[in-house]
Amino acid sequence: MRIMRGVAAAAACFACLAAWGTVAAQGQPGNGLDVGRQMLAEDNPGELWVERGDKLFHEKRGPNNASLEQCDFGMGPGKLAGAFARLPRFFADSGKVEDLESRLLKCMVELQGFDRAAIIGTRFSNLDRASDMEALATYVASRSNGMKMDVRLDHPREREMYKVGEYLFFRRTGPTDFGCVSCHGEEGKRIRLQDLPNMSDRKQMQAVIAGWPAYRGTHSTVRTMQHRLYDCNWQMRLPDLGYVSDVSIALTSYLNYQGNGAVIQVPGVRR
């Protein structure tokens, strides 16, 4: 799948850790890039995904011919406004801490009757095939636009997930000896020319969290937080990170909590 991503007429630009999105501060070599970054931020094709997600969400689909309008993202069935701002959170119906995508997956399986493995198989789009999940996640997240990220640690399981996420952020492993912190723990760092957000700085963390899901120019599609983590994991030379796995949800809990206060503006625009 990864191989197909190369844009034929363009350089085969592969994904990397460096596409989280950073605040404006740029080092010396960044200057030649600024004009392009500003121009690309001006128009966001990701808006097309919001439209498609809106349609998919309200349409009767799947073996059960049901819409997702009864899906509960934590504010009650069908309540979308502000729901994303509180995720991940503990859900009594599953007994687990869940993020946006794990809730969507659950509803697509339980309400609409889709096959879980099939949804996971198409969770990320590629140049040959769109992903409903990417559109749906973008739509639901965008219903919290203008609101502040407000992840809470009220439930013991939420506190566990947060602390496990923190543990994993600093956990170094694999052939590169990387942990998240290897690239995101210091100020003013770049991988090649791409600025790396320093995730120990709240402002930079908020800038990251405000804009995922994001339209990624290198991928010509919207990518979700699950994809962002999968992609980092890939670059760290680790095996394919399981979709809505504990590692992914723990890291999302940690990162979103650290980004609390970020004004959500989804989809963002990233390299």
Partner: protein, 211 residues
């Protein structure tokens, strides 16, 4: 790459007052975290999930927040790293700088998609992701220090060649828990590939040492 005893040092990610009493304790978090790792790579062959299992040095180097290594921990990492070093069968530590130049800017190799390791002719040495090298190449990172003029500053004696080789093979011998991957010890590069990168860094003809 000057003073090497740089211990890990991170800003404590905003010491948030969370009411510590209600937070799970460190052993619990450790156990839960390691359990999460074992369940989060479903369907992957064991040969690959093994990559997500920490070795002793990695475990020591995973300090949370701003916590520093103790002297004992640093010594243990240095000792383990020293023991890991292997040299090329030829005994020759300086290879071909032109091959090294190709490797130094290459970022491929070892990544996994769909449970398979990417199919490449050779792994790249990943250097330019984090280091400035030739002054002519602008598409370089800065996570590690600039290596421009590396050989000009240090010369290309046997001692420098050996030091450079060892630092690439296992950076933690000289700088325990630094951000730099243990490229030889971790198996990303072969001893022979490392000799080419050494040449690229120290050879007076190499672009690294040109103006």
């Amino acid at each position: 790459m000057r003073k090497y005893m740089k211990y890990i040092y991170f800003f404590s990610p905003f010491a948030v007052a969370l009411g510590c009493a209600s937070m799970p304790d460190a052993p619990t978090v450790h156990a839960l975290g390691e359990k999460a790792v074992t369940t989060s790579y479903p369907g992957m062959p064991e040969a690959l999930t093994r990559r997500a299992v920490q070795d002793r040095a990695q475990a020591i180097c995973s300090k949370i927040g701003g916590e520093r290594l103790t002297q004992e921990e640093a010594s243990e990492v240095v000792k383990l790293s020293r023991e890991s070093i292997r040299y090329p069968a030829s005994g020759q530590l300086v290879g071909d700088w032109k091959t090294g130049a190709r490797l130094a800017y290459a970022g491929q190799g070892g990544r996994i998609v769909g449970g398979k390791v990417e199919n490449v002719k050779e792994n790249g040495a990943l250097c330019s992701n984090c280091h400035a090298l030739s002054p002519k190449e602008f598409n370089v990172g800065n996570i590690g220090p600039s290596l421009t003029g590396y050989g000009t500053q240090r010369g290309h004696s046997d001692a420098i060649a050996k030091l450079t080789y060892e630092r690439i093979y296992n950076a933690w011998v000289y700088s325990p828990c630094s951000n730099m991957p243990r490229l030889g010890a971790g198996g990303h590069l072969t001893p022979e590939q490392i000799t080419h990168v050494v040449a690229y860094l120290i050879d007076p003809q190499s672009p690294v040492n040109q103006k």
